[in-house]
């Protein structure tokens, strides 16, 4: 009996502790590094601490009148408690929270003053287009990428969101709030990341079979590094280097990969799947579910649907292992 009680106490302490460990890491609204996420984290703590204090106060009062002081209260005191605690106190609390919450909103919805992005939710990946600071989004984007966004630290990026076929929701908890993406409609948000790092985002609206496998990394860079990166990202793909990569490029062309994927600077112009021009330079593969390396690329090309159920890319299991490896080498080299 004593042992099981000890175990229970241990579990009661350990349980929430294990859950709390999920509050950290690259995808947590509680390790906020963006200006908007920091404001929301503040709101969360104010609400949590306030609610805890009220909970303690109410339970303390219940304890007091049922266990400590069980005599009768004067009608005057009871009336005062009802009017003060039941009407005036909640009115003051709700009004303060409303004013606090509303006054935090204009900053959250402020117009971006730096780079512009348009992100389109696809099943199940993200199409990402970039316009540098000051560019007109009516013009074609300077760079097209997928499944990863890069942002300069310290400035507010303007982000347009839309979706191809079904509703998705764009959410990078460490940087800001989430916003839904609708087919045929453009919603806008802005994000102001403050610290360099890699943060994880996730589709936050059920969008079909592989919804849970639709993630992305947000890479926040120093402004100078970001400018250099965007300049490089806008360039065409570098020609393959070495025998394996050259062979891989040939296989890429032979297998008709270019019908769905674009590799700028080559005849591959497809727009159905993700742009692969600088695929090897990204931090993950297949919308945040695999590392970006040769083995993962081979695994993916062999059978996409086994890694991402419902994915429309066919498996290339008829390729010889050497050819598959060459193709992966070529793709990994597209930095």
């Amino acid at each position: 009996m004593g042992k099981s009680r000890g175990l229970r106490t241990f579990a009661m302490i350990l349980g929430p502790g294990v859950l709390l460990s999920a509050c950290d890491g690259p995808q947590s609204a509680l390790s906020a590094t963006g200006a908007d996420a920091i404001a929301m984290e503040g709101l969360f703590w104010v609400m949590l601490i306030g609610a805890t204090l009220i909970w303690i106060l109410i339970n303390g009062l219940i304890y007091y009148v049922t266990r400590v002081y069980t005599g009768s209260l004067s009608p005057r005191l009871a009336h005062g408690l009802i009017v003060g605690g039941g009407i005036i106190f909640p009115l003051v609390v709700v009004t303060s929270l409303l004013v606090y919450g509303l006054s935090a909103m204009p900053e959250q919805r402020a117009m971006g003053d730096g780079v512009k992005l348009r992100i389109t939710g696809e099943q199940w990946w993200w199409r990402v287009e970039y316009w540098p600071e000051g560019a007109d989004p009516a013009n074609p984007p300077v760079a097209v990428s997928a499944n990863e966004i890069r942002l300069p630290a310290g400035s507010r990026a303007e982000i347009e969101l839309t979706a191809a076929k079904v509703i998705h929701s764009f959410w990078i908890p460490a940087l800001g709030g989430k916003l839904d993406m609708f087919p045929g409609r453009v919603t806008r948000m802005s994000l102001k990341p403050l610290s360099v790092g890699v943060y994880r985002g996730q589709c936050a609206e059920f969008c079909g079979q592989s919804h849970a496998l639709m993630a992305l990394n947000a890479v926040v860079m120093e402004p100078g590094d970001f400018d250099a990166w965007l300049k490089a990202e806008a360039q065409d793909a570098a020609p393959p280097k070495g025998y394996a990569a050259t062979r891989g490029a040939e296989i890429f062309a032979q297998q008709g990969c270019g019908a769905c994927h674009a590799v700028r600077g080559t005849p591959a112009r497809g727009g159905v799947g993700p742009d692969l021009t600088h695929l090897g330079g990204r931090t993950s593969l297949a919308a945040g579910i695999l590392p970006m390396d040769r083995e993962a690329l081979m695994k993916w090309i062999l059978s996409p649907a086994s890694l991402k159920p419902g994915a429309r890319m066919p498996g290339y299991d008829h390729l010889e292992r050497e050819d598959l490896s060459a193709l992966a080498t070529y793709l990994e080299g597209l930095k």
Partner: protein, 138 residues
């Protein structure tokens, strides 16, 4: 039938007329709140959907909603004052109006209308806070 013993038919009708008016009056403050709510959202929605994002239209919209709010609050305060007086129609001071008499019914309706005026006043303030604090269509 018992009432006929202490009041005439004429007085009965007059009392009924008065209470019918009171009954109608207790709904007026919440109705003003509802109209103010619908009108504010309609004006903001139309301005933001059809006109410029942050131009002079938004300033005009805020002024229009602000003026509507002052009118709504003024009416609610006036109704509140009227019902406060109705609640305290006698010289006995305010108390629970729980007797089945015409005087208590009259005072109860004033009491209810007064409390609803307070709720409506707060409701109108809450409705207009976004216009006050956000000030743009973004």
């Amino acid at each position: 039938m018992a009432r006929r013993q202490w009041t005439s038919g004429e007085a009965d009708r007059a009392e009924f007329r008065e209470e019918r008016r009171s009954l109608f009056r207790i709904t007026v403050a919440p109705t003003i709140w509802a109209l103010h709510f619908a009108a504010s959202y309609a004006v903001a929605g139309l301005t933001c959907a059809r006109l410029a994002d942050d131009g002079p239209d938004v300033v005009l919209m805020r002024l229009v909603i602000g003026a509507g709010t002052l009118v709504a609050l003024g009416l609610i305060v006036w109704l509140g004052w009227r019902s406060w007086q109705q609640w305290d129609a006698s010289d006995e001071g305010r108390r629970l109006d729980d007797q089945p008499t015409s005087r208590d019914r009259h005072r109860f309706l004033g009491h209810a209308a007064f409390l609803l005026s307070i709720v409506s006043f707060i409701g109108v303030i809450y409705t207009v806070l976004p216009v006050l604090l956000i000030g743009s269509c973004l």
